[in-house]
């Protein structure tokens, strides 16, 4: 059902004065072009992913072979181990997942998919990237200060984190907090930019319910982030004051409460995982539609469910704290809200699966990643149900079951969702095609090694192995699972190595891939109407006008199997079966 052509009066996007050639620094470094800024976020994310993966390799090698020197690192003592796990988590969440899924995808896609020439605040956009880059430098620096990097976990529970004498780490945690403060500012500014752009700069005809779903997901993620980050910013300031000014916000000897930190952290921390999830989910939705040649099933229901998830994400946070000392009477309400999130989430999953029904499915690389996301995300989401049930949580909290769960969900979003988007939008971003064979190899290896690494981890957690221990051999009860730990480590190394085909493919294709046409996937959304890559102002002289929704694929009375959003009239001849 196409919407009747109409032009809604919307403010015309501000046309920037024609940009003359600006030289290397203005074009590639201090650029205000959203497309280049997106690539900067992408490269930052890829670089930090290498760092985070290296930390994971060292951790896993230590767990598998506790008393040995780790090749490429050296001996890991218990203090070092704690710094490894802390920074692995912090880097992967804030310097890989968010830069790639929000910074890169959000910045690249929003103006192009809504028909704008750039973000609402291009200079602020540049600032937000550079603040994040400085934050990344700060956290990398923290490894090299005396006593090393932060070592109180990515969750930074007080009072361990509040007094330097408990960890022995002084500047490491202070710098870690500073890096957080900077990246919060970066994403806050970015979130404001995203919201303003989507709300005010849509092209004529681009009503809210003609927006592609990935834009809705980015919109919701931005709102969630903006509303949830405040308490953690306050907490980070208080923690820094406890450390530097000897206040006692979180230190009981001075009248403070360690649980306050936990509440403030998780009040942000839980919505944060949805901030990461939604853009990846959106990318997968776009690809499912394009490569099934079908509209996404239940467009409006998905939007309503996304909003419901956004709302629910704010009232579940204490499921991270069931055994942490909160009032036991508060536990069941949080357990109920937690399990209820599975309702809108499962609706979205069912919709995505039904999108495939009677589709005409093309298994190009982006589609393989999208399908891989579906399987892995369903698995990870289901193990969350066990953790969300409070009595079951008693046994599994703080064990490797939790680690297995959150890696399965997070990596399904960041790796599978991220590569779905990357392989799909690469032609638009770089004007070249990636190599299909390398892409399929990358997918297959990642899928195999991902499962080999994290599936057995559930068993390790069920057996009772606590998180964040540096040496499983210290525990007699864990002798039975140590072979699994070795096996997981080897698979993790395989997973890291499996990314090599991607790196080779990615950089080689940027330089010398086959040139891409403007719409190599025959997709209907607006970004594919622009050239690959789009020029600086995206649309040339005239921004597009939108006449229909984003998923007009395979209309029965139209010859072509898709109608772009900005095409006035579909071709009239009827398609005939052979």
């Amino acid at each position: 059902m196409t919407h009747p052509p109409s032009i809604t009066p919307t403010p015309v996007s501000i046309v920037h004065p024609a940009h003359e050639a600006r030289g290397f620094w203005r074009t590639y470094v201090f650029t205000i072009d959203h497309k280049t800024i997106a690539k900067q976020y992408l490269f930052l994310g890829i670089c930090m992913a290498s760092v985070g993966s290296y930390l994971a390799y060292v951790m896993r090698w230590q767990l598998a072979f506790p008393d040995e020197s780790i090749p490429g690192f050296g001996f890991v003592g218990p203090e070092t181990y704690n710094a490894l796990i802390t920074n692995h988590g912090t880097i992967m969440v804030f310097f890989v997942a968010m830069p790639i899924l929000l910074g890169a995808f959000g910045n690249f896609l929003i103006p192009l998919m809504i028909g704008a020439r750039d973000m609402a605040f291009p200079r602020l956009n540049m600032l937000s990237f550079w603040i994040l880059a400085v934050a990344a430098l700060v956290i990398l620096t923290s490894f090299f200060v005396p006593a090393g990097g932060a070592s109180a976990g990515w969750t930074g529970y007080a009072p361990l984190s509040a007094r330097a004498e408990y960890t022995g780490v002084h500047w490491g945690i202070n710098l870690w907090l500073l890096a957080h403060a900077l990246e919060f500012v970066s994403f806050l500014v970015g979130g404001v930019n995203f919201l303003t752009t989507v709300i005010t700069m849509r092209a004529p005809g681009m009503t809210f319910f003609r927006l592609p779903l990935v834009i809705w997901q980015l919109l919701t993620a931005s709102i969630i982030f903006l509303l949830s980050v405040g308490p953690l910013i306050a907490a980070a300031v208080m923690l820094l004051m406890d450390r530097i000014l000897n206040t006692s916000f979180f230190v009981p000897e001075g009248g403070g409460d360690p649980l306050l930190w936990e509440h403030l952290f998780w009040f942000f921390g839980h919505p944060e995982v949805y901030v990461v999830l939604l853009p990846g989910l959106g990318a997968v939705m776009e690809v499912l539609a394009v490569f099934s040649r079908k509209p996404i099933f239940g467009y409006r229901w998905i939007i309503y469910s996304t909003i419901a998830i956004g709302f629910l994400s704010f009232i579940v946070w204490a499921h991270h704290m069931f055994v942490n000392g909160i009032n036991p009477r508060l536990v069941m309400p949080f357990s109920i809200t937690t399990i209820l999130i599975s309702v809108p989430m499962s609706l979205i999953i069912f919709s995505m699966i039904l999108t495939l029904w009677k589709g005409s499915i093309r298994l190009a690389t982006p589609m393989l990643w999208a399908l891989g996301f579906m399987v892995m995300f369903i698995l990870g989401g289901l193990t969350g149900i066990v953790l969300g049930s409070a009595p079951a949580n008693i046994q599994l909290h703080g064990t490797y079951f939790v680690v297995a769960h959150f890696h399965t969900v997070l990596l399904s979003v960041v790796i599978f969702g991220g590569f779905t988007g990357l392989y799909f939008w690469f032609p638009k971003m770089f004007g070249r095609m990636m190599n299909e064979s390398l892409g399929k190899l990358h997918f297959l290896l990642t899928l195999i090694f991902f499962n080999l690494t994290f599936f057995p981890m559930h068993a390790v957690g069920l057996a009772g192995m606590p998180r964040r221990i540096a040496n499983p051999l210290q525990y007699e009860s864990l002798t039975a699972v140590q072979p699994l730990n070795v096996y997981i480590t080897m698979s993790a190394v395989g997973l890291i190595v499996a990314q090599l085909p991607f790196l080779i493919n990615f950089f080689w294709s940027i330089a010398a891939g086959r040139k891409a046409e403007s719409n190599p996937w025959q997709a209907a959304t607006l970004e594919w109407s622009a050239p690959s890559p789009p020029p600086h102002d995206n649309w040339g002289d005239t921004i597009p006008t939108v006449y229909r929704g984003p998923y007009e694929y395979s209309l029965p009375d139209v010859r072509e199997d898709y109608i772009p959003q900005d095409r006035v009239h579909p071709s009239r001849s009827t398609w005939k079966a052979e």
Binding site: L160, G298, S335, A459, Q474
Partner: protein, 231 residues
């Protein structure tokens, strides 16, 4: 079977926890098979091929939306079932503490469990209180009540075989209880990152028979006369 990885359960309420894990396991397994199965079947059935064109199905009609609303309603019903079972189990374990027969205080301190026994007079704060680090001795089949504390940072008292876990927080006191159904020695890891000694912060729970426990009490408090802690 996956769940056979769970450590041996020696707790009266452990069965509640385990049966809940089993229930959720079976429900989620069924969903996994159904959804991933449907996904794989659809991908196989609807590959692009000559002469086949996708169907323009938007999911706007109610007859179409029903295909997602009905399974979603089923999810909701199963969720509520899990929650009701969970609520019962949680109340049993954390809210309704039976009358205690043995009492101890457990205090986490980097990197030991300091276990304080009240002694034969069963009163804390008296001369016969005895602290033994990392060794929790209890008789089998008796309700043991623990007061949990911390002297420095957050630790987590984790007794996997008892299906018991509780963080200890400096500045607060928590009550926990268990009743062991089997004798033996079991590890008590710390399950919350507490510093560089977190790895290896291990206590041991020894569950004695009634006779062994009496003997242990006599060994710890040799000057005690007959009255006091009953075996």
């Amino acid at each position: 079977m996956f769940l056979s990885w769970l450590p041996e359960n020696i707790s009266t309420y452990g069965g509640e926890v385990d049966s809940l894990i089993w229930l959720i396991y079976y429900i989620t397994l069924a969903w996994f098979i159904a959804t991933v199965g449907a996904l794989l079947v659809f991908v196989l059935l609807f590959r692009d091929r000559d002469g086949w064109r996708a169907a323009y199905i938007t999911g706007e009609k109610l007859s179409q939306v029903a295909w997602i609303l009905i399974p979603t309603a089923l999810v909701l019903v199963l969720d509520l079932w899990i929650d009701l079972r969970g609520g019962d189990a949680w109340a049993k374990i954390k809210l309704h503490v039976p009358p205690k027969e043995i009492q101890v205080q457990v205090t986490g301190k980097q990197f030991n469990w300091e276990i304080l026994y009240p002694g034969p007079d069963d009163q804390f704060g008296t001369a016969d209180d005895l602290q033994i680090d990392n060794e929790l001795h209890v008789p089998v089949n008796k309700v043991v009540a623990m007061t949990l504390k911390s002297k420095d940072v957050i630790h987590s008292l984790f007794l996997p075989n008892l299906r018991l876990q509780q963080n200890v927080i400096p500045g607060r006191e928590f009550q926990a209880w268990f009743q062991a159904t089997k004798t033996g020695v079991f590890e008590i890891p710390c399950a919350e990152l507490c510093g560089f000694g977190h790895s290896g912060m291990i206590g041991h729970l020894t569950v004695h028979t009634a006779e062994e426990y009496s003997q242990w009490v006599k060994d710890q408090w040799p000057s005690a006369t007959g009255a006091g802690i009953s075996p």
